[in-house]
Each structure stands twice: as structure tokens, then as C-alpha cells.
């Protein structure tokens, strides 16, 4: 069973994502901010993380940085899910090492497709 970590501080967004990925037979973990996410990443080592950017305390960029600079975690796929959708934001996100950048509001079907594609690449 593949593990997915959803990191977002909006409860309703988390609720929808949790529902669709459970349906897709993922083991779903939830973090409501960056700090919480860092803990879960270390203990569960998920296959993929859906990461919001604008969060209190530890933001999405910092979480990504932590993953990429840590040998054990650097293989984890990361998709940014953010309302920031200026070209410069997207470029920055990909440069930092995210595998995908999906703007909010997103389509759930498309998101599932992207996640699956990314995981099947290996």
C-alpha cells in the first residue's frame, strides 16, 4: 500500500483529499502544518507528499528543503498544491526540487492522475 502525506492547513481541502486518496487505496497521513509534516515524514517515509506552501511557522518550501537535503527522504515525490500561481512562483517551486506544481483550485481527477503517473515512473 502506497503512503501519501497531505499537508495543508485548510480542513476542508484536507477532507476532500483524504477522501479521494483513501478511495484510491492509499494509506493517507495528514499534517496541518509544516512542523507536523516533518515529524510524519521521518516516521512514516511516505511515497509522495502533497504540499501546501503558505502555512504558519514552517512553510512548504522549508519542508521540501528538508526532504531534499536528507538522504533518506530525498526520493520522496513532492507535489506542490498552492494558490500561488504566478509563473515565478511555479518556477521557484520546481527549481527547489518539487516534481510537480499544481495550482489551486485543482481538479481532483487530474490530481489523482498526476499522482499515479509520478509514482509509476520508477
Amino acid at each position: 500500500m502506497r503512503k501519501i502525506l497531505i499537508v495543508d492547513d485548510e480542513p476542508n481541502i484536507v477532507m476532500s483529499l483524504e477522501y479521494i486518496f483513501k478511495k484510491e487505496k492509499f494509506e493517507v497521513f495528514i499534517a496541518r502544518d509544516g512542523a507536523e509534516a516533518l515529524g510524519i515524514v521521518e516516521s512514516e517515509i511516505p511515497d509522495i507528499v502533497l504540499l501546501d506552501i503558505m502555512m504558519p511557522n514552517v512553510d512548504g518550501y522549508q519542508v521540501l528543503n528538508h526532504l531534499k537535503s536528507n538522504e533518506n527522504l530525498s526520493d520522496i515525490k513532492v507535489i506542490f498544491l498552492s494558490a500561488k500561481n504566478k509563473a515565478s512562483d511555479i518556477e521557484l517551486g520546481l527549481q527547489l526540487g518539487a516534481d510537480k506544481y499544481i495550482s489551486k483550485p485543482f481538479s481532483t481527477k487530474k490530481l489523482v492522475k498526476e499522482v499515479k503517473e509520478l509514482l509509476n515512473k520508477k
Binding site: 485548510e10 483529499l17 494558490a83 483550485p105
Partner: protein, 876 residues
């Protein structure tokens, strides 16, 4: 002592002085060269051989009168901290290199005025330089007991000394073409000489007081037995008082306007703050010098009472009389130092004036405007070198051909009186806007003529023993025209008499002509700039006194002729950088024109630089006041431009944040409804939960939109407040009712016991909105257990304060002001996102401010936060 020995000592001494100058020039950045002490000591060039010998002579023959020469400076110097600072600032700001330049610039770069001042200075100072040469020669004869002065100049030691001094001044004085560059070598040497002359004089003083006599009391007792002693040591009634007053005034002017003093004080000033040291150290120096003048004079009078000894030479004769040749030699070297520093600085100052204000503007401009830079600068330097040599040689011949047998004092004082003719134009120009160049020229002219009539002619007649009745009976035998008692004025001695009348007419003429004839616009602009210097100094090139435009290419050509390619390039680059101008610009604006003019002023004087620059510039009249207005407007335009940019940026940021805040609920709505639409297997409970969420997110969007519209309306003032008189108590209780459900849900008590009754004018709906916002925030942040929110008021005669307090964990200190920013919360949410748009406090602030009130947040000890807002009571 043999002349050979003395000459050898002089040569060694000069070699040391030259070496010090050379060293200082090489190490011009050293702390030994750049400090307030060297600066202060260099000002002591005021004490010449005249102080060394003449003061003693005067003190011996006429008592305390010599003190006036030092009293003036001691009185005026403390005011330098303001007065001299102003002069130094103006001079540095405009690259002024001499007194003549200063006056010429102030009166609109007047070429004739600059030349006139130069001529006056040369006429006043050359005899003064002769006097120093005479002192050297006389004392040399005394010390070597050489009583016959050779009439053949090649046998005269003084001639060679004069030539050496000219070499020294020419070498160290013309290292740079720009005369405003400081001459570190010469100044350091002069400072050293000031130490030497003071120390040696004190040594002689101590020797006379304590070796030849038994201390001051002994000298006083013995001297007081001499005939006429009492009379000498008093001021001598009201008449004497007038004489003292005008003599002190004269020396006050001299310490500022003697060319050598202007040179050391203004041109050679490295830092303004050195003046602070001068204000106490220099008067102290003068005081130390003068203490022993009195004792040496009294001692000489006692010891030589029945002998024919020139009182001017007491300083040397006292030790010689007791066969203390070494001491006499010290005295000689002290006097020698005093003389040579005066000669060097004076010729340096005069040569700059001669070249920049007389020779170049009247003779060489055309040539220079065609020549190459290397040739031009070399030629400028040569003019100055030749000027230095000529001045010293003329002074030497002056001393040789006129029998200067009057005491040293009188010639020095004549110099003072002539230099004083510059005072009305100088000080008038500094403090009086109306003072005009025409007034200055006529004033100086009349003043000079009167001092010639009342002082120079009778003095020459006296000293050259010409037989005429002119002095005793007046011109054509008219009593009222007696040169020493002009218009029957009998209370003054000759010098204060000449000073009084010449300055009186000089001042009156300057005043009347200035008042009756308006100067040119250019002159008026400079007047404005000099008088109000502090206002214009900070503007630099922006304070252009004339508006002109030209091609950069032409200006560059003129500059290159004097500065050379490299320096011109560097100067222009600096200028472009300073004002952020494109280097490729073709058209020179007024600032560049002005900048270039100043740049040249140091090398060729202000009048010439103006003539050269104006030859390539189309000049337009403009007043400095207009310039200020233009500057003001551009400044305002720039500021408002910046403000606009800032506002644009804020608007962008605001829109970004709004977009983000709107997208978040839409994301939830989209995701949840997509699931509901696509997935038929969603169970009933989940479906209900999803739909509830969609509903609440939709409400969130509409709330957000309402708030944004609200905020905009309030901020732009489009929403009119519905002001009426309301009871604040009832408004608060209505607001509490509105949040009571929320409070009950969180089990929080709302305490409103301390709310007082007061009536005020406000928009009740809006204020209720604020109070509800504050209350719901307070409820949100109160402690979960025993949470309590308190509302209270405080009323005084002009305002109501309303406090809303909670007992939660308070607000981060850094955030106390930030919480009123739009969407502050959105970026800094806590883990559990509190419900709200992030605009509540921003809106509250807007509402309170449109009521002319204030709102702020603070933390309470030990727990909780307090938000306070005020409402004015007389709000119309």
C-alpha cells in the same frame, strides 16, 4: 658672536624647517600633520617679529597700549565657532582661495573688485614684509655686533635669507595648481616655528624676570620708580578709552582679514571642528606671549634707563648686556622664526591673489582658453612663483631704499588700517543681502584714500624727514584738514584716528551706494547664498546662482585646458554619479555649469572661471529664490511619485492576498463538489458533511467579499458615516448580546460592570461592528478554562476610551501593531485556523479612524491582551 657662526646656525635652522616642511608634505595624511594643534599653532603666524621686538618696544615706551593688538583677537575668537565656521563653509563650498576671491565672488564674481582687493592687500602687506626683513637684518647685526650695514646687497645676509624664503614659499606653495589645496608642508613648518618662537620668548622672559630680577614683584617695584611709570600703565581716561576701543576693534579685524590670517584660518583649514580647539588654545597662546612682554619691557627700562638703547631690541640686549650670548641667540632665532613664517605665509597668500585675481583675469585668460592643460597649469604655477619672488624682492628693496627708522609697531599698524578697509565689504557681504559691488568698490576706494591722507602721507613725511607744514597746519593751511586731526577730531592718536575716519567714510559710502543702487541679479544671488549660507550649503550644485545651458562637449573642453584629460574625466564622472545623470548626455544643465565653474575657481579664481565658463554657455537670468522654488517642486514631484509607486505596490500586494484568500475556499468547494458529482458511492453522512462544508466555504467567500468592499468604502471615504448622538453603554450592551451565543458556546464570561454611561456622536452600526469584532476576537483567544472577557470604559472631558480585555496568551510583542494590517491573520494563523477573514481589525481601525479616534493593542500582565479604542466626544 661671529657672523660666520650665526650664519651657520641660521642655515642649519632653515634646513631643519625645510626638512619638516618636506616631511609633512610627504606624509600629508599623518596624524602629526592633521590635527587641531597644528592648525591652532599655524594661526600664531599672527605673532610676527613685531610681537617679538615691537611689542616690547611699545610696552617700554607707551605702557600697556601694546595689549590692544592681542585683546581684539582674544575677544573675537570665541565667536569664531559660529562666524568663522560660516566663512569656512562658504569658502570651501565655493572653492575660494583667498580674501580677494571671497569678496569678488560675494559681489557677483566681480573681476575689478577682486583686483582692487588684491592691490589693497599688496600695498598693505609689502611694507609689512619689509618690516620683517628689517627685523631680521637689525637683530642679525645686534647679535653679531656688526654695526655697519653694508649698502651693497650682495654683502647683505638678509638678501640671501630673503631669497631662501622665496625659494621655500615657491617650492612648497605651488605644489598644486588648485590654490584651495592645503599646503601641509608650509603649515606644519609654521606651526613648529610658532612653538619655537613662544618657547624661546618665554625662556628670555623667565631669564629677565627671575635671573636678572627677583621675580615679578621686584621688576614692578624697580620699574615703578621710573619717571612716568604710573601714567604709562593706565588707560588714560575717556579719550584713552576710545583709543583702546578702536585699537582693539582694529586688531579684531586684522586677525580675520590679514591675508596671511585668512590663508591659515580659512584656506588651510582641514576640518571645521578644529575651530573648537582654537577658541581656547589660541587666546591662551597670545596670553602666554604677552605676559612676558611686560616684564621684558620693564626690565629693559630699569637696566638701560640712562643709556641710548632701542627699546625694540630689549629682547636681545638684555642677555647680551650680561654676556649671555647663547640666550641672545635663542631670542634671535625666536624672532627669526616669527619673521620668516610671516614672510612665507604672506607671500603665499598674496601670490595666490595676484595670480588668480589680478594677473590671470586681466592678462592670461585669452591665452589659457587656447592652450593645453600641461602648459596652462605650468604657466599658472609660474605666475605664482614669479609673484612670490617679486613680492619678497620688492619688499627687500622697500626696506633698503626707505629709512624705516620708525618703530616696528607703526608700520604694522598702518598695514592693519589699510587691510581694515576691506572690513565693511567683507562683513557687510556676509550679513547684509543688499550690500552691492558698487558700494564695496567705492567704499574701499574712499577708505583707502582717507587712510593715505591721514596716515601714510604724514607718516612718510615724518619718517623721511621731509620739511613741510602739511602735518602741523593741514592741507593749504586749513586746520580742519590736519591729517592727524581731521575735521577737528582731537581725541585720537594717529592710528585709531585714521582707522576711525577711513572706516567711517568707507562704511557710509558702502551703505549709501548699496541702498540706492541695486546690484545685478548674479550679485544678489551670491548675496543670498553668503548671507543665508546654511540654507544653501546643503544644496551643493543645486543652488546654482545662474541658469545657463551649454553643450557638455564645450564645457569639457574648457575644463580640460586646466585640469587635463584625466582629472576632468574623473570630476565629471563623480558629478554624474552624484546626480545620477546619464554619462552620454549632450546637454549640460545648470548644475554642471555651476559645478564646472567651482572646479575652475580654485585654479584661476572666481572671476576668470566665470568668464571662461560663460563663454560657452548661454546665460539666462534667474533668482536664487526661483531656483529654490524649482528645487522644492521637483522634490515634491519626486516624493509624490514615490508615494504613488508605494501605493501601487501596496495595491498589488493587496490584490494578491485577496486572490489567495478567495482561492482557498473555492478550492475546497471545487474539490468537494467534484467528488460528489463523480462519485455515486458517497455515503449519506459523508455527503451531508461535504455539503455543509461547501455551504460554510461559500459563506466564507461572501463574508470576505463584503469585508473587502467595506474596507474599500471606508478607506476611500465613499461611505458616509451616519453620525448621531448615542449612548455608548447601550451600544456596548447590544454588541455583547450579538456575541453572547459564541461566548456561551466557549463557556466564556463577559464582564461589563465597568462600563460607564456617556453620550457621543458616532455611527452606531459601525461602532457596534467594531465592538463585536473585538469581542469575538477576545472570546476566540481567551483561555479555554475560566475564560473571561471584560469590557470597560473611561470617560474624560474630550474622549471616551473603550477597553476590551481577554485572559488568553496575549499577542507577540512584534505583532502588536501588525495585527491591524489587512490579512495579517491569513499569513500568521495558528494551527487551528480561527474563523474570520483576516480583515476584521483592519476594518475596525478604518472605522475608528474615520471617527477621528485611535485604536491600539497591548498585552496585560500576567495573561491576556487589551484592545483599546477612543472616540472623541465633540465629534462633528
Amino acid at each position: 658672536m661671529s657672523s660666520f657662526l650665526v650664519i651657520s646656525i641660521i642655515i642649519v635652522y632653515l634646513a631643519v624647517i625645510f626638512y619638516v616642511a618636506f616631511w609633512a608634505e610627504k606624509n600629508s595624511k599623518s596624524r602629526w600633520v592633521n590635527n587641531p594643534y597644528v592648525y591652532t599653532l599655524s594661526l600664531a603666524v599672527y605673532c610676527t617679529a613685531w610681537t617679538y621686538y615691537g611689542s616690547v618696544g611699545l610696552a617700554a615706551t607707551s605702557g600697556l597700549k601694546f595689549l590692544t593688538i592681542y585683546l581684539g583677537p582674544i575677544i573675537i575668537i570665541p565667536t569664531w565657532i559660529i562666524l568663522m565656521r560660516k566663512i569656512i563653509r562658504i569658502s570651501k563650498g565655493n572653492k575660494i582661495s583667498s580674501l580677494a576671491d571671497f569678496i569678488s565672488l560675494r559681489y557677483g564674481n566681480d573681476r575689478f573688485l577682486g583686483a582692487l582687493v588684491t592691490v589693497i592687500c599688496v600695498l598693505a602687506i609689502v611694507p609689512y614684509i619689509s618690516l620683517q626683513l628689517k627685523a631680521i637684518s637689525e637683530t642679525f647685526n645686534v647679535i653679531t655686533k656688526h654695526n655697519i650695514t653694508s649698502s651693497f646687497i650682495l654683502n647683505d645676509t638678509t638678501f640671501y635669507i630673503a631669497i631662501l624664503l622665496a625659494l621655500f614659499a615657491a617650492f612648497f606653495g605651488t605644489q598644486h595648481t588648485d590654490a584651495t589645496e592645503r599646503h601641509k608642508g608650509i603649515i606644519t613648518a609654521v606651526a613648529l616655528e610658532s612653538v619655537i618662537k613662544l618657547v624661546f620668548f618665554i625662556v628670555i622672559g623667565l631669564y629677565v624676570t627671575f635671573y636678572l630680577f627677583n621675580g615679578p614683584t621686584d621688576i614692578f617695584e624697580q620699574a615703578s620708580l621710573l619717571p612716568g611709570f604710573e601714567e604709562q600703565q593706565t588707560i588714560n581716561g575717556v579719550e584713552g578709552g576710545f583709543n583702546w576701543f578702536f585699537m582693539s576693534l582694529l586688531s579684531m579685524i586684522a586677525i580675520m582679514l590679514l591675508p596671511r590670517q585668512f590663508q591659515v584660518t580659512v584656506v588651510e583649514n582641514e576640518r571645521e571642528r578644529y575651530l573648537k580647539k582654537v577658541t581656547w588654545l589660541f587666546p591662551l597662546y597670545l596670553l602666554l606671549f604677552n605676559v612676558f612682554v611686560i616684564f621684558i619691557a620693564w626690565g629693559g627700562n630699569v637696566i638701560f634707563q640712562n643709556q641710548e638703547v632701542d627699546a625694540d631690541l630689549f629682547t636681545l640686549m638684555l642677555p647680551l648686556n650680561n654676556n649671555h650670548e647663547f640666550l641672545a641667540l635663542l631670542g634671535f632665532l625666536g624672532g627669526f622664526s616669527a619673521a620668516i613664517s610671516m614672510v612665507v605665509i604672506s607671500t603665499l597668500a598674496l601670490s595666490t591673489m595676484l595670480s588668480n585675481n589680478l594677473i590671470i583675469p586681466y592678462g592670461f585668460l585669452r591665452k589659457y582658453s587656447q592652450g593645453e592643460s600641461v602648459k596652462n597649469t605650468e604657466s599658472i604655477k609660474n605666475i605664482r612663483r614669479i609673484a612670490i619672488f617679486s613680492l619678497i624682492i620688492v619688499a627687500y628693496f622697500f626696506y633698503k631704499s626707505f629709512t624705516l627708522d620708525r618703530s616696528l609697531v607703526s608700520i604694522g599698524l598702518i598695514s592693519f588700517v589699510i587691510i581694515a578697509q576691506l572690513a565693511p565689504s567683507f562683513f557687510g557681504g556676509l550679513f547684509w543681502r543688499r550690500g552691492s559691488s558698487k558700494g564695496a568698490k567705492y567704499g574701499i576706494g574712499i577708505g583707502f584714500l582717507i587712510s593715505v591722507y591721514t596716515l601714510i602721507i604724514p607718516y612718510t613725511i615724518d619718517s623721511q624727514s621731509i620739511a613741510t607744514s602739511f602735518v602741523n597746519e593741514g592741507l593749504f593751511g586749513i586746520n580742519l584738514l590736519k591729517p592727524y586731526e581731521l575735521f577737528g577730531l582731537q581725541i585720537f592718536e594717529p592710528v585709531p584716528h585714521a582707522f576711525f575716519w577711513s572706516l567711517f567714510f568707507n562704511g557710509i559710502v558702502y551703505l549709501l551706494i548699496s541702498v540706492n543702487f541695486l546690484g545685478s541679479y548674479r550679485e544678489r544671488n551670491f548675496a543670498e547664498m553668503f548671507v543665508d549660507s546654511s540654507k544653501y550649503a546643503s544644496l551643493h550644485e543645486n543652488a546654482y546662482v545662474w541658469k545657463g545651458e551649454a553643450y557638455v562637449r564645450d564645457i569639457r573642453k574648457v575644463l580640460t585646458r586646466f585640469l587635463g584629460e584625466n582629472r576632468t574625466e574623473r570630476a565629471l564622472n563623480l558629478f554624474y554619479m552624484k546626480y545620477n545623470i546619464d554619462k552620454k548626455t549632450q546637454y549640460a544643465d545648470a548644475r554642471l555649469v555651476n559645478f564646472s565653474e567651482k572646479l575652475l575657481t580654485g585654479s584661476i579664481g572666481s572671476a576668470s572661471s566665470r568668464i571662461l565658463i560663460s563663454s560657452v554657455v548661454k546665460e539666462e537670468e534667474i533668482s536664487l529664490v526661483e531656483v529654490l522654488n524649482i528645487l522644492d517642486e521637483t522634490k515634491k514631484a519626486k516624493a509624490s511619485n514615490k508615494e504613488l509607486q508605494e501605493r501601487d505596490k501596496q495595491k498589488d500586494e493587496f490584490l494578491d492576498t485577496v486572490a489567495h484568500e478567495l482561492k482557498t475556499p473555492i478550492t475546497s468547494i471545487k474539490a468537494l463538489s467534484e467528488i460528489l458529482l463523480d462519485d455515486d458511492e458517497v455515503d449519506g453522512n459523508t455527503k451531508k458533511q461535504f455539503l455543509t462544508s461547501i455551504l460554510s466555504e461559500s459563506e466564507r467567500i461572501s463574508r470576505l467579499i463584503n469585508n473587502i468592499l467595506d474596507l474599500e468604502k471606508l478607506a476611500t471615504g465613499r461611505e458616509k458615516l451616519d453620525l448621531n448622538e448615542y449612548s455608548i453603554k447601550s451600544t456596548i450592551s447590544k454588541s455583547i448580546d450579538a456575541v453572547s451565543q459564541l461566548a456561551i458556546k466557549k463557556d466564556i464570561k463577559i464582564n461589563s460592570n465597568k462600563v460607564n454611561e456617556a453620550m457621543a456622536y458616532y455611527d452606531e452600526d459601525r461602532i457596534q461592528q467594531v465592538i463585536i469584532n473585538l469581542l469575538s476576537n477576545a472570546i476566540k483567544f481567551s483561555k479555554d478554562e475560566n475564560g473571561e472577557v471584560a469590557v470597560s470604559t473611561y470617560v474624560n472631558e474630550n474622549k471616551i476610551k473603550i477597553y476590551v480585555e481577554d485572559n488568553g496568551k496575549g499577542i507577540e510583542t512584534d505583532d502588536l501593531n501588525l495585527i491591524f494590517n489587512k490579512f495579517y491573520q491569513a499569513k500568521n494563523q495558528t494551527i487551528l485556523k480561527p474563523v474570520g477573514s483576516g480583515l476584521g481589525l483592519a476594518i475596525s481601525k478604518q472605522i475608528i479612524e474615520s471617527h477621528n479616534g485611535k485604536i491600539w493593542a497591548e498585552n496585560l500582565e500576567p495573561l491576556g491582551a487589551r484592545l483599546t479604542f477612543t472616540l472623541p466626544l465633540n465629534n462633528n
